[in-house]
């Protein structure tokens, strides 16, 4: 049972190192708090997007486009709209970033519409606020489509009814009026609906969930680095060679070390899991998540042994681990989703512990079960075994 005693001893030493322990366990929690404060409830957090409405229209139609920003509860919830009279001033405010966008209705808007000439509304948007301005643009486009629809309905009706030569002189106007009314009805455009859903089984992930998963994986990786340092420090203190002189085998010692690092990793993950769940992140099938987490910790500890064996000094350990972890994090999707990568670059994420782990965690969040994530678990365990074996083989004391 030597390995167990080695592991217990390691845990004892780790616990005595209060600073590192705090960093390993408490800090991730702080990060998750930041995450949730920033991203937790997007709609609530959006606050009201400040926008300007500049209605120079001398007719009535302009109001049709602009009024909803002040009257429709769905829009007033999203936007803090103000009326302005000078488009140049509005544009300047957008340029400064004080406004997310400004919508300008030209003075001849209604007139052009009545005479069947197409119009364009200028929408100035702040490139520094992509999301808010995109929402603004979406709303403006929906409103403008309604106006277009009304206009087109009117013209088409007029076109078809005119040749009928109905005696009643007000008839055509009546038709046009009715057309505009019908087409402006909020339900008018619902005949054809766009239904959005997700292709894969399960829900779309919020940014919060994505980063919770990605961050948890990253912290497990750093836990492994911590394990590597403990091994190198043992070398420096000469306790590693001393252990090698006792009647145990190298494997028992390494096994104990793995155990120690493993316990820390499991503890970290449990804390992260509990904390993020309390903040509303849905991790999905517990078995799947547990398996992925377990194999991630295994892979990370294997990595730790490998780094400790390859790097000779504490400084080198630091350098090598930074390199490896940054690389893996980058290609694995810790910074932003792999889906963004060009197709030829995506396969790289198979070489990354982060890649497999995040992929598995996200799959679980989206509804995958334990069987679905077996490939990820398998890959991680393979990585664990490979690194551990190379590291153990190369590990000497000199």
């Amino acid at each position: 049972m030597r390995w167990l005693h080695v592991g217990i001893k390691d845990l004892r030493v780790t616990v005595r190192d209060r600073a590192s322990l705090g960093i390993l366990i408490a800090m991730p929690m702080i990060l998750i708090v930041i995450l949730s404060s920033a991203l937790g409830n997007l709609a609530a957090n959006l606050g009201k997007t400040p926008v300007a409405i500049v209605n120079l229209d001398q007719g009535r139609v302009g109001a049709q486009v602009t009024d909803p920003f002040f009257t429709d509860p769905k829009l007033t919830e999203l936007f803090l709209a103000r009326r302005m009279i000078d488009p140049i001033e509005a544009k300047a405010l957008v340029a400064k970033g004080d406004l997310a966008g400004a919508l300008v209705i030209p003075s001849d808007f209604s007139r052009r519409l009545d005479t069947g000439r197409p119009s364009k509304l200028m929408l100035f948007s702040d490139p520094g606020r992509q999301i808010s301005s995109a929402v603004f643009k979406g709303v403006a486009e929906a409103l403008s489509t309604r106006v277009s629809a009304a206009s087109i309905a009117a013209r088409t009706s007029a076109f078809y009814v005119a040749p009928l030569r109905v005696r009643d002189p007000g008839f055509v106007y009546g038709v046009i009026g009715k057309a505009v009314q019908s087409a402006s009805d909020t339900e008018a455009l619902s005949a054809v609906e766009l239904v959005e859903s997700t292709a894969a089984r399960g829900a779309e992930l919020s940014t919060l969930s994505y980063y919770s998963g990605a961050m948890s994986v990253m912290f497990l990786m750093f836990g492994s680095m911590f394990g590597a340092f403990s091994l190198v420090r043992e070398r420096d203190h000469w306790t590693l060679p001393r252990m090698l002189m006792t009647p145990g085998t190298k494997w028992e010692i390494l096994g104990g070390k793995m155990f120690g690092v493993f316990v820390i990793g499991a503890l970290q993950f449990a804390v992260l899991f509990g904390f993020t769940s309390a903040l509303g992140v849905k991790w999905g099938d517990l078995m799947a998540v547990g398996l992925v987490a377990f194999s991630t910790v295994a892979a990370a500890t294997g990595l730790a042994i490998f780094i400790a064996a390859v790097a000779k000094t504490v400084r080198a350990v630091s350098g090598v681990s930074q390199m490896l972890i940054q690389f893996m994090a980058a290609v694995g999707g810790s910074f932003f989703p792999v889906a963004q990568f060009p197709a030829w670059l995506q396969p790289l994420h198979y070489f990354s512990v982060n890649g497999w782990a995040i992929d598995g965690i996200l799959a679980a969040m989206r509804g995958a079960n334990a069987v679905d994530v077996l490939p990820n678990v398998g890959a991680l365990l393979v990585i664990a075994v490979v690194f551990f074996t190379i590291g153990a083989w190369r590990l000497g004391w000199e």
């Binding site: 190192d17 590192s20 800090m27 997007l42 340029a95 970033g97 519409l113 069947g116 197409p118 119009s119 364009k120 509304l121 490139p127 520094g128 606020r129 992509q130 999301i131 995109a134 643009k137 403006a140 486009e141 403008s144 489509t145 277009s148 087109i152 309905a153 078809y160 009928l164 009715k178 455009l189 619902s190 005949a191 054809v192 609906e193 766009l194 239904v195 959005e196 997700t198 292709a199 779309e204 992930l205 980063y211 750093f222 680095m225 340092f229 403990s230 400084r315 350990v317 350098g319 090598v320 930074q322 390199m323 940054q326 690389f327 980058a330 290609v331 910074f335 989703p337 990568f341 989206r366």
Partner: protein, 400 residues
Amino acid sequence: MRRIATLAWLNLVQVLKDRTGLITLIFVPLMLTSIFGTVMGGGERRIAVAVADLDKSVQSAEVVAALDPRSYVVTTTGAKEAEAMASSGEAAAALLIPKGFGADVLGGVDTQVRLLKDPRSQTTIAIAEAVRGRVQRVAANAATIRIVQAAFRDASAATGAAYSPAPPSDIYAYADRIWEPDPPLAIADVAVTASKTRGSTTQAMGFQQYSLGFTLMFMLFMGIGSAGGFIDEREQGTLSRLLTTPASKAELVAGKVLGIFVTVMFEAAVMIGFGAFVFRVPWGDDPLGVIMIITAFGLATTGLGVMISTLLRTRGQVSAATAVFGTSLSMLGGAYWPLDIVSPAMRTIALMTPTGWAMTGLTDVVVRSQGTALAVLPSAALLGMGALFLAIGVSRLKLE
């Protein structure tokens, strides 16, 4: 003064001699910049969409036409295949138009078009927007058909004659023509920058966010990580020896700080230069503003690194701290996601971090092209923070 330079030089030489350190210094940023550069640079990439048009009518074709070949790569396939492509991530989304779509539209029957999105993709919003616009157009045309038919009924009622309306397809075609080349009303979206206006796409803006944020994050990691250098010296005992030389404590610290600063700036230069020139990552047109902010940020992270090194004892702790501080400051400061989407409270907190100031400044200068003048305040704030960190660090520095 010369002593400071000597100390800084010593630092540099040590770094250069340390092979793994050198690799980290040069290779890692190059590699990461390359990865992110290919992802982000050189203009937009076309988004892959799988389309299963089971109807092949005029109306369905119109919806499909929403996917402009300049921005989208359309793969026409069957329903099952399209869904599979979206599931696997091969396509960002699958557009499914059911059989009978056109007939339903013309016949006044409610119908729908399905967009299956790859949940991992961030570009599905853009796709949905594009498709929705077309769908609304088709819906508008469908409504027009009803309206015209109602008008015919009204005409019949008014005159007593039985008028048969034109075939729906004719009405549809007529209405549809009015949408081209310019619909009665359209929105012209203009991204406003102070010096010039540019067309905007959701993609290009998104990439800019990442390239700025990522550079800052990496500089932060470098700055905090190099705090380890102080600890190394302490452990090696060379620090005490340095103290016995005529160099004053201030000179020692200055030399070390200079060394760290040079390292951080070197990183930044490599990443920004490489990224901008080789991968055409969009860094804007105002190099002076960018240089100001990046330099000030470099100083701030150096100060932060020094301060942190005085709070910790071992290299292991430094590594953990690098991860934690680097990531959290990046998150808080808007390097990971735009501050746009966070609450006002978080936006205030962001301005308490160096990353927050740097991101805000860079956004104004690079993204909004507001000119060098707007780099001044953020740079000053960053310098202030850097000075504060350095002061705390130096006062706490135990050199024994």
